[in-house]
Every structure is written in structure tokens, then in C-alpha cells.
């Protein structure tokens, strides 16, 4: 309890942030000091996190809280605090380890960038902000760091600011998450209104403790859902997932950081953190808010997996896979498997970072070529990258025994299978697992197997500074599989605060075999489907992708396959193709549109009403539309850019206040 680190928790987020500020003040030419400081800062944070991790196990109730008063106004005091519990400490270690690997990798990947120094400053800032999210013991403090994470992601996604697409992607990411954050903020305010405090744990009077929870009543559902909005935005859940694939415009290490350790993990972490609010009034572990979480997760997981199958950009495939995995985590949280969800988050952090860095290595080796159809045969050219990428791919697919993803996925599936409400999520998630294995197999075949593609010429293995992090992460991924093994579920029990014990019987549970089956189906399907690709002459980019509808030959090929395989699988493929197109269409025309602003929505509405009008069903709707537009124009007129008009309005406002004062006095 009286561990030194427990009373100095603020040091953990402060270290990278201070380092970031320091780097920002270095001259632009100080490239190696910048990288050195950033890595040193990350090592410092890692050391502190490990201290914190071991301190956690010695703490009474596995939890320590340090609250302090931030602002005093009148008789009220706004209090903030730091919190260390198993959840936080596990996250800390994951973030700092993965972060460190990414930092080291970046020194190689970004070596030729002009703004090398700025990149490391932002990267450190990003890491520090995320550590702050994890350690906050107040929803307000968490929100502050949450927004800092958003800011850092904005800066990093748009890092190559001279590219218009990057700038647009950064804006999109920022605005999309902001929509979710709006809900989060409303939920925060409502929670403060109801419980009078935003501290999570405050020796009995915190908002996550019984007294406050009991007072919430029915409002708990709405508060939980509002807070969940924030998580939806940050973690790229349907329908706010659109920003995540676009965020690939940033440098690859940034993608790795966003997808593995920081940004998207924040959403899942948030739900896990405020889980008590979600489960207020639970009957049999089910509440309306948790049910929403489950279904959102299911839709996200499946949709993203389907989309991923039809992509050809190496990073986009990984991006959709992240979305899909996040959906899986949400489902897990929703059905009550909090520990399973968080464990999957941790394992996912490792192997997704590995995959992204591997992708980065490939991109670097191929001189910034990202189209997998132009790759091929890199197995011999980039052996280290290949081996580590394959480890990551197998972990993500969930190949059991040696690869961490398997255990956690199995746990999640297990948790869904015992959900009393419905079995549909369980089955849909099983489909998701198959799809995951399928698209990962497809990707690996495209990139590493077969003959050399047009972009593979002149490819070379990346320098050691980039391969070493890969090896380290691959090693971590395999080690985690030992840590996470159900035979000795100490991390699982650590997260829920129990003592662990050995039980090898868990290794032969039916669920293990189910997931093994699923993975084998997925990988087998992938190999069967894409074997042809590997065998093709790859000197020109592959145009005959099995999923490209435009090619009639492709259709025949597909149909033949469907005759050979079971009809069910074939229909899944078709369905997936159609659905991925629908999703793609929805992405382009619907969700994108919503995000782009209410004006666009109004236009859609206008088009819709015109259609209705033409059929003569409702002429009045047209009026409504134009009225809405007129209102918009009215408001737009107020923003004339005429400073004096603004000044005049301010003066009139002041006058009104004065008269009010005079009237009251």
C-alpha cells in the first residue's frame, strides 16, 4: 500500500508529456536528441509502470486512490485524483511496452522525414495523454486526457500536413470523435448533476461506489449510453467508425500507436472503467445499456470484418481488422466478460502493433507502396519481417497454444455463449473469427507468398532499428500466450481481483476446440481461395482478385469454388461481397455524409422530400426543407465577416445586460 509509486502516480503520464514539451523546444536540427529524449522518456514511463504493476498486487483491495483538490469555488471544491488498480496497471504496462517498440521503430521509419523532431514530440505527447486516461480517478480528469489523446491523434494523423488527404483525414478523425465526445460530455454533466461528484472512488462517496450508484436510478441507463457515445467515437464503433480507416493517412508508426496502444483502446478502457454505471440494476448480468453495447459491438465486428476482406491496401485491411476486434471487445464487455475483453485488448495491443510495424517495414522496404496486389514473394526478400508478420497474423487469427489472441478470443466467445439474452452474438462473433482468419490469410499470401510482384523489385529488409522492435513484439506476443493461458489464468483473476490457481482442464474445454475449428476454417478457406493468387505471375499488379466483382472470369472462378466447398461458405462469401459493398456504400454516402455536417443532411432530406413531393404524397415537406435551408441561411447571414456588425451586436448585448441590471437594482 505504501509503495512509493502509488503516491506519485502523476509521474507516469507526466514523464512523456514533459519530454514532449522539452523536444518541442529543441532546435529543428536536433534529430537524434529528440529521438533519444523520447525513447528515454518512454523507458522511464515503462519502468514506473512496471513498478506500479508490481505495487498493485501488494495493495489492499488491489486499489489505491490519491485525490486532491483542484479548484475551490465558494463552498464547493472540484476534486481530481489518480487511481491505480489491476485494470490500470495492466494497461500501463501494455501501453508503455508497445509504445517503446513503436518509438524505436519510428527512428528508422521516419529517418528521412524533415519534421523528425516534431514527430517525436507528438508521439511522446500521445503516449503521455493515454497514460493519463488510464490513471485518472475522475471522469473529468479522464475527459481532459481523453481530449488530449484526441488532439494528439489529430496532430499525428495529419502529420504529413502537405498532403491534402492527410489533412482531411485528421479533420475527419477529430470531428468524428468529437461527435462521440459530445455525448460523453453530456453524460459527464448528467452524472455530476445526479451524484455530485466525478471521482470514481472516494472512500465510499465516489460515483462508482454503491451510494452514488443507488441514487442514479433510471438515469443510469441514459448516462451509461451517453458515456458509451464517447467510447463509440474513440474506439471506432459503428456508426462512428468511419474515421479509423482514413486515419491510415498518418505515418505507419502512428497507425500502430492509434490502433494498438492508445486511441482506440481508450474507448474500451472507458467502458471497462465505468462498468459499474452500466451494470446498475442488472438482472442476471443484463441491462439495457449493456445490451446496446453488445449489439453495437456485434454490428461493428461483423461489418468491419466483411469490409476487410475486400480491401487491397495493406494498412486498411489492418485498420478494419482493428475495428472488428474492437467490436469483439465491446461484445465481451457487454455480455459481462470484462476481464476477457480487457485481456483481448492487451493481447490485441501487442499483436496489432506488431502487424502495423510489420506493415510499416514492408512499406518502407517497398518505397512507400501500400497496394498488396503489387506485392508478392517478399518471404525471401524480407525474412525477419515475414516471420514476425506471420506470428502477428496467427495471433490475430487466433491460432491456439502459442499465440496470445487465441486464448483471449476463446474467452470472449465463451463469455458470449453464456449470455442469457440471445445466442445470436455468439454465432455472429464466430463468423467474425472465421472472417478474421480469412482476410489475414489473404493478406499474408498476397504480400509474402508467390512470385515477386511489380513493387517487390529492389525490396530490401529494413534496418535493425526497425526489425528489432518487430522481434521484440513477436516475442511479447508469444510470451503473452503463456501468460494468458487458461490453465493458469492469473492475469484474468488479477483483473477481477482473485487468486489464481492451476487447472489444466481449461485447456481441453470444448470452447477451445470450437475456436480452433473456426480459425482453421478461416485460414483454410483463405489458403484455398488465394492459392491461385500466389501461383500467378506477379510481374503486373493482380487485377483478378477473387472479390472484384467487375471481372466475369472472377465470378466463374468464385462459383467453381463455391461448388467445391460447402454451399454455406459460398453464400457467406457472396453475402460478404454484397454486404461489404453495401457497407462501403453506406460508408461513402451515408455515414460520411452525416459526419460532414448537418447541411449535407439537410440536402439529403431535401432530395428525399422532393421525391415524396413528386409522387404527390406530401407537398408540405418541401416547405419544411426550404424553411430549414432558409433558417440556415439566416444564421449564415449573421456570420457576415463584418467586424462592426459583430461589435454592434456585442454592444447591444451589453446594453441589454445593463438595462437588466438597472431594472433589478
Amino acid at each position: 500500500m505504501n509503495h512509493w509509486i502509488a503516491s506519485n502516480l502523476w509521474l507516469i503520464p507526466a514523464t512523456p508529456i514533459v519530454v514532449s514539451l522539452l523536444i518541442l523546444n529543441l532546435p529543428k536540427s536536433a534529430r537524434s536528441p529528440a529521438a533519444g529524449f523520447a525513447i528515454l522518456g518512454q523507458i522511464g514511463a515503462l519502468a514506473l509502470s512496471i513498478l506500479a504493476f508490481f505495487a498493485t498486487s501488494q495493495m489492499a483491495g488491489l486499489q489505491t486512490v490519491r485525490n486532491f483538490t483542484w479548484l475551490t469555488f465558494g463552498n464547493n471544491a472540484l476534486r481530481l485524483g489518480w487511481l491505480l488498480d489491476p485494470l490500470a496497471s495492466a494497461m500501463l504496462v501494455m501501453i508503455t511496452v508497445v509504445g517503446l517498440c513503436i518509438f524505436i521503430f519510428s527512428t528508422g521509419y521516419m529517418a528521412e522525414d524533415r519534421n523528425f523532431k516534431r514527430f517525436f514530440a507528438y508521439l511522446s505527447f500521445f503516449s503521455g495523454a493515454m497514460l493519463g486516461v488510464v490513471l485518472a480517478n475522475s471522469l473529468l480528469l479522464l475527459f481532459v486526457f481523453w481530449e488530449l489523446v484526441g488532439l494528439a491523434s489529430y496532430l499525428l494523423i495529419g502529420f504529413w500536413i502537405e498532403r491534402p488527404t492527410a489533412a482531411a483525414a485528421a479533420k475527419k478523425a477529430f470531428i468524428t470523435t468529437r461527435i462521440g465526445d459530445m455525448g460523453f460530455f453530456l453524460g459527464l454533466l448528467w452524472l455530476y448533476h445526479r451524484s455530485g461528484t466525478l471521482l470514481f472512488y472516494d472512500s465510499g462517496s465516489g460515483c462508482l461506489e454503491n451510494a452514488a450508484l443507488n441514487s442514479l436510478g433510471v438515469a443510469a441507463t441514459f448516462i451509461a449510453l451517453l458515456i458509451f457515445c464517447g467510447a463509440v467515437g474513440k474506439s471506432g464503433q459503428f456508426p462512428l467508425h468511419v474515421w479509423l480507416p482514413d486515419a491510415m493517412e498518418g505515418p505507419t508508426p502512428v497507425s500502430a500507436l492509434i490502433h494498438a496502444a492508445t486511441m482506440v483502446a481508450a474507448g474500451v478502457f472507458l467502458v471497462a472503467r465505468v462498468y459499474p454505471i452500466f451494470s446498475v440494476g442488472a438482472i442476471n448480468g443484463v441491462t439495457p445499456s449493456l445490451e446496446v453495447v453488445v449489439w453495437i459491438g456485434v454490428v461493428t465486428g461483423l461489418m468491419a470484418a466483411l469490409i476487410a476482406v475486400a480491401q487491397s491496401d495493406i494498412k486498411r485491411i489492418l485498420a478494419y481488422s482493428t475495428v472488428s476486434q474492437l467490436g469483439l471487445m465491446m461484445v465481451s464487455l457487454g455480455v459481462g466478460g470484462v476481464a476477457a475483453g480487457i485481456m483481448h485488448l492487451l493481447a490485441h495491443g501487442f499483436f496489432k502493433a506488431l502487424l502495423f510495424l510489420g506493415a510499416g517495414s514492408v512499406i518502407h522496404g517497398l518505397h512507400h507502396e501500400q497496394d498488396i496486389r503489387k506485392m508478392g514473394g517478399l518471404r525471401r526478400l524480407m525474412p525477419i519481417t515475414f516471420v514476425t508478420y506471420a506470428i502477428g497474423m496467427m495471433a490475430l487469427s487466433g491460432v491456439p497454444l502459442l499465440f496470445s489472441g487465441a486464448w483471449t478470443k476463446e474467452e470472449v466467445l465463451h463469455a458470449t455463449s453464456i449470455w442469457p439474452r440471445s445466442h445470436l452474438p455468439h454465432y455472429l462473433m464466430m463468423a467474425g473469427v472465421i472472417l478474421t482468419a480469412l482476410y489475414m490469410t489473404r493478406q499474408v499470401i498476397y504480400i509474402f507468398f508467390g512470385n515477386r510482384g511489380p513493387a517487390s523489385e529492389g525490396a530490401h529488409e529494413s534496418p535493425p532499428v526497425m526489425t528489432w522492435p518487430l522481434v521484440a513484439l513477436a516475442f511479447g506476443t508469444i510470451t503473452l500466450s503463456v501468460v494468458l493461458t487458461p490453465a493458469w489464468p492469473w492475469l484474468h483473476d488479477f483483473l477481477i481481483g482473485k487468486q489464481a490457481r492451476f487447472d489444466f482442464a481449461h485447456l481441453i474445454e470444448p470452447a477451445v476446440f470450437t475456436s480452433l475449428m473456426l480459425v482453421l476454417i478461416g485460414i483454410g478457406l483463405g489458403i484455398v481461395l488465394y492459392r491461385g493468387v500466389a501461383a500467378e505471375n506477379r510481374l503486373r499488379p493482380i487485377e483478378v482478385d477473387p472479390f472484384q466483382a467487375a471481372q466475369p472470369a472472377l465470378f466463374r472462378f468464385l462459383q467453381n469454388k463455391m461448388w467445391i466447398d460447402e454451399f454455406y461458405r459460398g453464400s457467406v462469401l457472396r453475402w460478404s461481397k454484397a454486404l461489404s459493398r453495401v457497407s462501403d456504400w453506406l460508408d461513402r454516402n451515408c455515414w460520411d455524409g452525416i459526419v460532414r455536417g448537418f447541411g449535407w443532411l439537410g440536402q439529403l432530406f431535401g432530395i428525399f422530400t422532393t421525391g415524396v413531393d413528386e409522387r404527390g404524397i406530401n407537398a408540405g415537406v418541401d416547405e419544411t426543407t426550404s424553411g430549414a435551408r432558409g433558417l440556415g441561411r439566416l444564421f449564415a447571414n449573421a456570420h457576415s465577416g463584418q467586424i462592426q456588425t459583430y461589435l454592434g451586436v456585442i454592444a447591444i448585448g451589453m446594453l441589454a445586460l445593463l438595462l437588466l441590471y438597472a431594472w433589478l437594482a
Binding site: 462592426q644 454592434g648 447591444i652 446594453l655 445593463l658 441590471y661 438597472a662 437594482a665
Partner: protein, 160 residues
């Protein structure tokens, strides 16, 4: 004597200010602006804040007014065009004045008894600046430096 002085200074200051706001020629307005601030400094003298009055003259007449006339000089090709006068501004300004006057007359929170005249020497001001107000002082210093650099960067001619 105080009342007479007050009346004279008030008439001088307000008419100078009015001239500064309404004179058609920008240069005249800028000079009237300087005159108005001299009048305002006189008010500070009447309020026994001599130091403040001197600072006001120093800063506004010595620096800001000269800056303004310099700006007029640098942008003088734009002066010939007639700009006209926005009449709605007059209405708003008069309305605000009336509102302020009503508020001043109706308020009940003004002190009724006039306290003894405070003596505030430069020394006391200096001591206060260096003790209680040292943080604001430093901040203002940084602000002024930043403003100086910012203004310089803004007006530096871009190299072709």
C-alpha cells in the same frame, strides 16, 4: 476649483474624443485621439493617481499615437476614398450611453461617503508591483515581448 477644473477637463476630453471619432480626416482624428488621452491623463491627476496619468501620456501620446500616425502614413493610398459614416453606430452608442447612465444612477452599491484622499506614491506602486503583483508584472512583460515580436513578424516584408 476642483469642480471647475473637472468641468473644463471633461469638456476638453470629451470634445477631443468626439472629434477623434467623427473627424473625416484620419490624421486629424489620430491627433485628436492624442489630445483626448492627454485629457484623460488629467482626470487621473484629479483622482490623485499622478503616476498613472504620466504613464498614460507616455504610452498613448508617445507611443500609440505615433504608431497610429505611422500606420496612417503607410496605408495612405487608401485614404482618398470616401468611406461614409455608419449611422446605426450612433444610435447604438447613444443607447449604450443612456443604458450606462441609467445603471449608474440607479445602482445602490456605490459608496455614499467620500473617504479621505489616498496618497499613492510611485514608491508604493513600485513596491506593490514587485511584491503582490510580481506575477502579473512578469506576465505582462512576456505579453509585451510576444506582442513586439508578433508585430514585427506581421509587418516584415515577405521575401520574394
Amino acid at each position: 476649483m476642483n469642480t471647475a477644473a473637472l468641468a473644463i477637463i471633461a469638456i476638453f476630453t470629451l470634445s477631443a474624443a468626439l472629434a477623434a471619432a467623427t473627424l473625416p480626416k484620419l490624421m486629424h482624428a489620430a491627433l485628436m485621439f492624442a489630445a483626448a488621452f492627454v485629457g484623460l491623463a488629467a482626470f487621473f491627476f484629479l483622482l490623485s493617481a499622478e503616476f498613472l496619468g504620466l504613464v498614460l501620456v507616455f504610452v498613448y501620446v508617445g507611443a500609440v499615437a505615433v504608431l497610429i500616425v505611422f500606420t496612417i502614413l503607410l496605408t495612405r493610398h487608401d485614404l482618398e476614398k470616401d468611406r461614409g459614416f455608419n449611422l446605426s453606430g450612433i444610435i447604438v452608442a447613444i443607447a449604450v450611453f443612456i443604458g450606462l447612465a441609467i445603471a449608474i444612477f440607479k445602482t445602490g452599491s456605490l459608496p455614499v461617503v467620500t473617504p479621505e484622499i489616498p496618497t499613492l506614491t510611485v514608491k508604493q506602486i513600485g513596491a506593490a508591483l514587485m511584491t503582490d503583483y510580481v506575477w502579473p508584472l512578469q506576465c505582462v512583460g512576456i505579453l509585451l515581448t510576444a506582442a513586439l515580436i508578433g508585430a514585427l513578424i506581421l509587418v516584415i516584408e515577405e521575401k520574394k
